[in-house]
C-alpha cells in the first residue's frame, strides 16, 4: 500500500509543482500545510539540510527539492510521463526546466519585491528572460507538446500566480501584448485539470500581496517569511 504525504505551503510554487505532478499521475496523497514561522519537527527531521518545503514522503522515505521530487515522481509512477522518453528531448526538457527555475523565477520574484528605484532594472531582466521562454515555446500549446510536461509544471508560477500578483500590485511585466504566446500558454495551463485542482484561491493570493513598491511598506513579517523560503537560487552552471 502506497503512502504519499506532501509537506507544503499554500503559496509556494515549488509545492505547486509537486502537487501538479501528483495530480497528473492520479496519485492519492495527504497534504500537510506547514507554518513557516513555526516549522514542524517532522519537516526539520525530513529536510535537515535545507529545512524547507516541499517534502514528499513516500512510504516513510523523504524526498526534497522540487526538481528532484518531480524526477522521482516520474520514475516511480510510469503513467502519464512528464518527461519525454527520447534522451535528447529529455535533456532539452531538463535544460529548460532549469532555465525556468534558476533564471525566470528569481527574475520575476525580484520584480514583486522591488522598490520603485529597483523596479525598472528588475523588470528589464525579467522581460529578457520571458522573451527567451516565449521563443522556446514557439507554436507549441505547451512546452511539453500537446500535454503539460516538466517545463510547464516548473513554470507554474508564470502560468498562474505571477499574473494574479502583478495585477494586484499593478505591475506591467508579463503582458499579453509583450508575450502573446506565453499569455495563451498561461491561459491553457491554468485551465488544465491537474493544475486547476491545486491552484491557490485568487482572492487569498491577492489579499497576501498588498500594494507594495509605490512608497508603501509590505507586511514585513510576511515578506521576511517568504524571503526565507524563496531566496533566489544560485546562478546556473
Amino acid at each position: 500500500m502506497e503512502e504519499v504525504k506532501l509537506f507544503g505551503y499554500w503559496v509556494s510554487p515549488f509545492c505547486r509543482s509537486v502537487e501538479i505532478a501528483l495530480n497528473i499521475k492520479g496519485i492519492q496523497y495527504e497534504y500537510i500545510e506547514e507554518d513557516l514561522t513555526n516549522k514542524s519537527p517532522q519537516l526539520l527531521q525530513y529536510n535537515p539540510v535545507y529545512k524547507k518545503i516541499p517534502v514528499l514522503l513516500h512510504n516513510g522515505k523523504p524526498i526534497v527539492e522540487s526538481m528532484v521530487i518531480l524526477e522521482y515522481i516520474d520514475e516511480t509512477w510510469k503513467n502519464n510521463p512528464i518527461l519525454p522518453e527520447d534522451p535528447f528531448e529529455k535533456a532539452r526538457a531538463r535544460f529548460w526546466a532549469n532555465f525556468v527555475d534558476q533564471k525566470c523565477f528569481p527574475a520575476l520574484w525580484k520584480t514583486i519585491w522591488s522598490t520603485s528605484e529597483q523596479y525598472e532594472q528588475n523588470k528589464a531582466e525579467a522581460l529578457e528572460r520571458l522573451k527567451v521562454l516565449e521563443n522556446e515555446l514557439g507554436g507549441k500549446r505547451f512546452f511539453g507538446g500537446d500535454s503539460i510536461g516538466m517545463v510547464d509544471i516548473v513554470a507554474n508560477f508564470i502560468g498562474f500566480s505571477f499574473r494574479t500578483i502583478q495585477e494586484a500590485l499593478k505591475l506591467d511585466v508579463f503582458t499579453e501584448d509583450n508575450f502573446p504566446k506565453l499569455w495563451e500558454w498561461a491561459e491553457n495551463f491554468a485551465n488544465c485539470s491537474p493544475v486547476k485542482k491545486c491552484l491557490p484561491p485568487q482572492d487569498k493570493l491577492i489579499a497576501n500581496f498588498p500594494p507594495a513598491y509605490m512608497g508603501k511598506t509590505l507586511v514585513s513579517s510576511f515578506q521576511s517569511r517568504l524571503q526565507l523560503q524563496f531566496h533566489p537560487p544560485a546562478a546556473a552552471k
Partner: protein
C-alpha cells in the same frame, strides 16, 4: 543506434567540462575535444548554446546538449548499455540528484565567493562552510557507498563525478589558503575515496595538474582584484 559523431566544447581546467569527460570515458565513447576560449567565444559555441553561451556543450551529431548535469544524464541514458552512472533505484537517484544540486548550488559557490572575499574574516568563514560541507559529504559517502569504493558503490557513479571533478581545484585552493581541505583525521572516508577516484583509468589524466590549476587560480584572483578596484 549510437553514433560516434561526438564533440565536446570545453576548456581543460573547467570542472564542469571534466564531468562530461569522465562520463564519456566511463562509457568508452570516442569524442573530439574542441577547446574554447571563453574570453573570445567561438561562433560554434554561441550557436550551440545561445541561452547561456557557456561550456560544456556536448554535440552529438548536430544536437547540442548543455548544462553539465543534464549532459551527464544524457550520456547515461543514450548509451544505456554501458556501465550505469546513475543508480537504478528511483530513491537512490533522488539522493544522488539532491547532493549533486547541493554541490553545485551551495558548495562550489563558496569557492567563487572566495575569489572576491576582501578580508581574512570572510575568508575564514567561507573556509569553515567548505569544511562543513566536506563533513556532510563524508556522511553521504559512508551511506551511499555501503562499504564499497565509490559513492556509486562498486563503480564510479553520478555523485563521484559531480564531486570528484572539483578535487584538483580543492588542492589548488588548499595551497592558496594553506588549508588541508581533505584531512585524514576529519574525513578519512573521503580521503580514501579521492585517491581511488583520481587514479581510476576513466578519470586519470583529465583533471589538470595541481600546479597548472594553481597558476590559473592566480590569474583568476588577479582579475577579480582588478575588477574590484575599478
Amino acid at each position: 543506434m549510437p553514433t560516434n559523431d561526438v564533440k565536446l566544447l570545453g576548456a581543460p581546467a573547467s570542472q564542469y567540462v571534466n564531468r562530461v569527460q569522465f562520463a564519456l570515458n566511463l562509457k568508452s565513447i570516442d569524442y573530439e575535444f574542441i577547446p574554447q576560449n571563453m574570453r573570445e567565444k567561438s561562433e560554434l559555441l554561441l550557436k550551440s548554446n545561445p541561452v547561456h553561451k557557456n561550456i560544456p556543450v556536448l554535440l552529438h551529431g548536430d544536437k547540442p546538449i548543455c548544462d553539465s548535469l543534464v549532459i551527464v544524464q544524457y550520456i547515461d541514458e543514450f548509451w544505456f548499455d554501458g556501465p550505469s552512472i546513475l543508480p537504478s533505484d528511483p530513491y537512490d537517484r533522488a539522493i544522488a540528484r539532491f547532493w549533486a544540486a547541493y554541490i553545485d548550488d551551495k558548495w562550489i559557490p563558496f569557492f567563487k565567493e572566495l575569489t572576491t572575499a576582501k578580508d581574512e574574516e570572510s575568508k575564514t568563514a567561507l573556509v569553515e562552510k567548505i569544511l562543513e560541507g566536506l563533513k556532510l559529504f563524508e556522511d553521504v559517502f559512508v551511506k551511499a557507498s555501503k562499504g564499497k569504493c565509490f559513492f556509486g558503490g562498486e563503480t564510479i557513479g553520478f555523485l563521484d563525478i559531480v564531486l570528484g571533478c572539483y578535487l584538483g581545484w580543492l588542492k589548488a585552493w588548499g595551497i592558496q589558503l594553506d588549508v588541508n581541505f581533505l584531512d585524514e583525521s576529519k574525513t578519512p572516508a573521503l580521503v580514501g575515496w579521492a585517491e581511488r577516484f583520481s587514479s581510476d583509468k576513466a578519470i586519470h589524466g583529465i583533471i589538470p595538474e595541481t600546479e597548472e590549476l594553481f597558476r590559473i587560480l592566480q590569474i583568476i584572483l588577479a582579475r577579480a582584484a582588478d575588477a574590484a578596484s575599478k
